[in-house]
Amino acid sequence: MLTVLVFLLPRFLPGDPVGNLVDAGDADPEYVAQARAAAERSLGLDRPLPEQFGRFLNDLAHGNLGFSAGNNQSVGALLRQTVPWTVLLMGTSLVLSSFLSYRIGVAAAWRRGTVGDRAITVGSTLLHAIPDYALAMVFLVLFAVRIRLFPIVGASTPFTQSASGLYKIGDVASHLVLPVAALTLGLMGTKFLLVRNATLGALGQDYMVLARAKGLPERLLKRRHAGRNALLPFLNLVGIQVGIAFGGATFVQTVFGYPGVGPLMVAAVRGADYAVLQGCFLVAAVLVLTANLVVDVVSVGVDPRVGAR
């Protein structure tokens, strides 16, 4: 079903890839017609739709995603250049935001009603209302323009092929800091609120009273008894957030000129580049579904009841 959707939707796009390829500005109509026909033949667009779909499926099975007329490169090559950056940015932000919001959420529930708890709760509610690209721009202005702490644009410094491995790693890392910071902050609010509420729900339970009566140390109570309770709905939310994180990553990447699948797709929409659109959407869907699968597996590990059903 996914493949049908991926194949069909771009075909209804207004505009066509051939039109962008063959400049019809001042040429003779006969010339344009011939050039169009040639371009359509070379891209396989002159065939009937079912045949195009058959070819698409066949190519897909062989790992061939087609050819991008706009970039004059195979879609596979384009994706190979962009997918790692998207995975790096999304993965780091998802893991970091999950870890932080979980720890802070449990801690806030533990110290409920204190100034710190109130401040963070109000803060994360407000975070909901700020678009990801606005966060990204704030980080850009503060830490790349005002204080020149981090690079402004891109994922690595160009022309550094000969530099040492360590330098390259440091370079990639410093380019990654601001985009990750923006995306992480954007993803934290919802998760924090959920963890805080779920933990609060556990605090009044009988087993908490019993555990406390047993004289268990506070740290153990917090981790094993109160926090655990929030883990399952939390993981659920993390799974849902993967798709949202892809969108957030697209905005953040656009602001920082960071390479990735999102910006590639935006360019493909503008250029009516079917093949790239298909490839990007497919990759986005596969990324999200894979991440969801990982979350599901982890959930079963955390709570055997999930697997039993």
Partner: protein, 290 residues
């Protein structure tokens, strides 16, 4: 509609302060959206001044690259941003209500199929789906709203379905069916009134996401290039290289972003106000933990 619904809850709770703040914000923007074009000092596409002017008495927020007055664009853009939000939210809620009622009342295979479709739609990454659909059907105001509605109905449908499923076992609904009321009559007289508050909160959250997405699409440059909205101002501004090295961004990008944030806060606060009505436990819990 609220009066009907509160019949189920013995004590009517006052709307908390935060709800009023939200209502005030949202109402303010709605009024601005309605009267916008007539109070804006210049036309939104009028070439009113030399290009790229700093804020002055004549142009409070300066002008953009081609000399359009930014304050006027901000005011006029309110309408399209809010209109997309309202239409998209209305669309999403309508689909969700119909699906939720159908799935919840029918049960069996229609329920399974509808919820499967919802699950699949939820599992797909939203922004790429939106860009793909937007590229297919076009980016006029109504179509963007429609596309956003199509992407956002499933979450709401699930909430409403589970509500229908719990409501339909209540004794008054069972009694009504026993007296021979058909599913449509039951839905209209007994289910919809009780669902109305939930529908309102679902509408508010869908509207806030629609504001965000419409601006986001425009920001990415995949929206309608000719429509003036908050997103389009941000997009135009971002298209100028080196913007953040200058001070121009403070009156070019900041105002539309602040407008978006204020609308989102308004909708969110309003939603919180309604939520304590829908689910009195929320506020009681809050009091208990304080």
């Amino acid at each position: 509609m609220a009066g009907r619904a509160s019949g189920a809850q013995p004590h009517r709770r006052p709307v908390p302060l935060i709800g009023w703040v939200g209502a005030f914000l949202v109402l303010g923007f709605v009024v601005l959206g309605l009267i916008g074009p007539s109070v804006a000092p210049y036309g939104s596409k009028e070439l009113a001044a030399p290009r790229q002017e700093r804020p002055s008495d004549r142009h409070l927020l300066g002008t953009n690259k081609v000399g359009q007055d930014l304050l006027s664009q901000l005011i006029v853009g309110t309408r399209s941003s809010l209109l997309v939000a309202a239409l998209a939210a209305a669309g999403a809620v309508t689909i969700a209500t119909v699906v939720g009622l159908a799935a919840g009342l029918a049960g069996g295979w229609p329920d399974v199929i509808l919820m499967r479709v919802a699950d699949v739609t939820i599992a797909l990454p939203r922004l790429p789906l939106l860009m793909l659909l937007g590229a297919v059907v076009g980016t006029s105001l109504i179509r963007v709203a429609l596309v956003i509605a199509v992407v956002f109905w499933p979450g709401a449908a699930r909430v409403l379905r589970s509500q229908v499923r719990s409501l339909r076992r209540r004794s008054h609904v069972v009694a009504a069916r026993g007296f021979g009321a058909g599913p449509l009559r039951v839905a209209r007289l007994h289910l919809l009134p009780e669902m109305s508050l939930v529908v309102v909160t679902v509408f508010l959250s869908a509207a806030s996401r629609a504001v965000l997405l419409e601006a986001g699409l425009a920001f990415l440059g995949v929206g309608d290039p000719s429509r003036v909205s908050w997103g389009s101002i941000i997009r135009d501004a971002r298209a100028s290289p080196g913007l953040f090295y200058t001070t121009f961004w403070t009156w070019w990008i900041l105002p539309p972003v602040v407008a978006i944030v204020l609308v989102l806060l308004g909708l969110m606060f309003l939603g919180m106000g309604f939520e304590t009505r829908v689910n009195p436990r929320l506020s009681r819990d809050g009091a208990l933990h304080r």
